[in-house]
């Protein structure tokens, strides 16, 4: 691992700082990071390809499972794309309920992030507090949709569940509680010295760099880039709802924290407005099984940033192509930039500050020889043979086991 005078340290694919497998290779001089390399591709699930094999309604539930945190974002984005191709007009009440769930999702995602950020800088008390409060919004989502995650509220042409007056009251009550707690976190973030010390000046991304690498979501807004799909290209109920885009000119992790906490406060007001102004009417319209030929490119502001879905329909009940660009892919370029010249100790929080979701991002598996770093192609048989020999050199012989496996495979 020695590289002349510098140490090269692997963070990942398996590392306690990472919640999902990905790989960072850091060249260190003492505690300073000289260079950072990012390698994705440990978590490829082939969802885009799987979408082509399934009907639209099956795909809706599949894309909802792209991400465990922003599941509603992917489902809504896909839904809106397919509805656009089919030319369906969404009932107003359905659009409002979708927006309501979207904002509740943003609240739970940002609270989750705040806890993770606390954990990454060794402030576990913040993690415990925020995740306890997050239960409020999780319970509200469960009451509203029937699920704590992967809500399944969307369907083509509307939503699957209505909001009852009791749920409205519960929502308003929950927002009051969360607003009070969030005000407390704002005071913690602006007064606790070790927290400020660890967050400000860390992972700097200047305004120009944020524009150049195409950062999205809170990462971009913390570098004073006023980029928010909800405002720039309003969808669902965002065009009618009053809200402001939170930005910060700190350009560091502290700024990203302030933006997210500010967005929490903004979301509480949005949820209140939606509950109070929920129009009457049907919650869904009939949607054809076969979608006419056409294509659509849809943008959606997920909690982590702009989520993009591209759908091409060919007139059958299955899409011809589905392409997903999760927000992390747009932000991961910024990470290598932010890590450079920073401290090793800041690496976890800098990576966590973009709120990464690597499994949503992975689109391929690349295998490279770790010594030459030259990409090559191995067949399945070669990979298996390599594994067997690797273990045999270390005194473990899998050939016997392999024979039984092969017998079983035939049957």
């Amino acid at each position: 691992m020695h590289d002349g005078e510098n140490i090269r340290i692997p963070i990942g694919p398996q590392h306690p700082a990472l919640k999902e497998p990905t790989s960072f290779s850091l060249a260190l001089e003492g505690e300073r990071i000289l260079q950072a390399g990012v390698r994705l591709g440990y978590n490829h699930r082939g969802i885009e390809k799987a979408c082509e094999e399934r009907t639209y309604i099956q795909d809706l539930y599949l894309v909802e499972r792209i991400c465990g945190i922003c599941s509603h974002s992917h489902a809504t984005c896909f839904c809106m794309a397919v509805e656009e191709i089919a030319g369906t007009e969404l009932p107003k009440r359905a659009a409002y309920i979708r927006t309501l769930v979207a904002e509740l999702e943003r609240v739970h995602s940002h609270l989750l992030w705040l806890g993770v950020a606390g954990h990454e800088i060794g402030f576990d008390t913040l993690l415990m507090y925020t995740w306890r409060d997050r239960e409020t919004v999780m319970d509200l989502l469960a009451a509203l949709t029937g699920n704590r995650v992967n809500y399944g509220i969307n369907t083509f042409g509307g939503v699957r569940r209505d909001v009852s007056p009791e749920q409205k009251a519960a929502l308003l009550k929950g927002m009051d509680l969360l607003e009070e707690r969030t005000k407390y976190y704002i005071s913690v973030a602006s007064e606790e010295p070790t927290l400020i010390e660890r967050l400000s000046g860390v992972g700097t991304l200047s305004h120009a760099d944020a524009v150049r690498v195409g950062a999205v979501g809170p990462t971009a807004r913390a570098s004073d880039v006023k980029r928010d799909t909800r405002k720039d290209d309003p969808y669902a109920a965002y065009g009618e709802m009053p809200f402001s885009v939170i930005t910060s000119d700190h350009c560091d992790v502290y700024g990203r924290t302030l933006v997210r906490v500010g967005e929490l406060m903004e979301s509480y007001n949005m949820i209140r407005w939606l509950v109070n102004n929920l129009p009457e009417g049907p919650i869904a319209v009939k949607f054809p099984r076969r979608v006419p030929a056409g294509e659509c490119f849809m943008r959606y502001e997920a909690p982590r940033g702009e989520d993009v879905h591209y759908v091409r329909a060919n007139g059958t009940d299955k899409p011809e192509r589905v392409k997903v660009r999760a927000p992390t892919l747009a932000n991961v370029q910024a990470v290598a930039h932010m890590l450079k010249d920073g401290y090793l100790a800041d690496m976890p929080i800098v990576v966590a500050a973009i709120d990464p979701c690597f499994s949503c991002t992975d689109r391929l598996i690349a295998m490279a020889d770790p010594h030459s770093l030259q990409p090559g192609v191995l067949t399945w048989e070669q990979v298996r043979q390599h594994g067997i020999e690797w273990y045999r050199r270390r005194g473990v012989d899998f050939t016997r086991l392999n024979r039984t496996f092969k017998c079983g495979e035939g049957g």
């Binding site: 700082a17 060794g122 913040l126 606790e192 070790t194 401290y343 100790a345 976890p348």
Partner: protein, 313 residues
């Protein structure tokens, strides 16, 4: 001979310290959980953890130096247990005493950190080596304030023996109030010594996995963890003896009961710090210790020197 063995193996040595350390670990974990709004573990959890870990297989990586890897945890535990013999617990006199034992105790309490360094360094893994380097850097940062703040009360008492200090402050309990700053400084230094939040950079989980202990497992890891728990109790004992020398003349049972209260109070303070701060970076830690804590410790020395002249001791 038999009595010395009893002192070393049963009370106040090995057995007592292990039971007290694991109980203190329970208090620490439970209080931390309560402060963080969690339920926390049942009372026997630290004992169960220790037994379970000790029953696991020891995995010794291929490239490590086997001798160093195996013996460092034992040395760490032995050093922290030995140091308690010189600290007065149930009266103004410790089991063993001589003029200069305060230095020996501080020295013995440094040994565990050195073993962390050696254990990490000889693990031959990047994470262990980084943790080892960090723990030795941290050692230089907190050791100076710790020595200064412990030696300042000794200056006032005009003795280099912990028992002598206890005797002096039992006679003049009000003089102990002069050392309040020293208590604060040594609490901060103790946080660094025990590698706890906000000074837990040497084993920062999210950065370098488990630092020096990354390659350790099974019985050896159990010994290391026990050594840290014992070090926490001994550190608290030392602070209680030096800065809270009250009630030592009440007779052995009362003084011993008071000692338990004082040590647990120090441990609760350490737990409180652990829950309200975030982890500092190693450079911030060094700057904080050298720029803020060490000057304050010097201030404590000055206070004691001036007081000594004014009180004509």
């Amino acid at each position: 001979m038999a009595l010395s063995l009893f002192y070393m193996l049963v009370f106040p040595g090995f057995l007592f310290l292990v039971v007290f350390a694991l109980s203190a670990e329970y208090v620490d974990r439970k209080l931390c959980a309560k402060l963080q709004n969690r339920v926390g573990p049942p009372w026997y959890q630290p004992f169960a953890d220790f037994i379970k870990l000790a029953a696991k297989e020891d995995v010794v990586p291929m490239l490590v130096d086997r001798t160093m890897f195996r013996y460092t945890p034992i040395v760490a535990l032995a050093a922290s247990i030995t140091s308690v013999l010189y600290i007065p617990i149930w009266g103004p006199d410790a089991l063993f005493k001589f003029n200069g034992d305060v230095i020996v105790v501080l020295y013995l309490l440094t040994i565990p950190t050195l073993t962390f360094f050696l254990g990490g360094w000889y693990s031959r893994s990047v994470f262990s080596m980084l943790g080892a380097v960090r723990s030795i850097m941290q050692l230089f940062a907190y050791e100076i304030p710790l020595y200064l703040s412990i030696l300042a009360p000794a200056l006032l008492a005009n003795t280099w023996s912990l028992s002598g200090m206890a005797r002096f402050y039992s006679l003049h309990p009000l003089y102990a109030l002069l050392n309040v700053i020293g208590l604060g400084v040594s609490l901060v230094a103790l946080l660094g010594k025990l590698e706890r939040v906000p000074f837990d950079t040497p084993e920062a989980e999210t950065e370098i996995v488990a630092g020096c202990f990354t390659e350790y497992s099974g019985r050896l890891l159990a010994l290391f963890r026990l050594a840290i728990s014992v070090e926490m109790v001994v550190g608290a004992t030392l602070l209680a003896a030096v800065f809270l020398p009250f009630g030592l003349e009440l007779g052995a049972p009362a003084a011993f009961g008071l000692y338990l209260v004082k040590a647990l109070a120090v441990i609760c303070l350490l737990t409180l710090f652990r829950t309200v701060f975030a982890r500092l970076r190693i450079d911030q830690m060094l700057r904080f210790c050298a720029g803020v804590v060490a000057p304050i410790a010097f201030g404590q020395v000055l206070i004691d020197l001036v007081a000594k002249r004014m009180l004509a001791l």
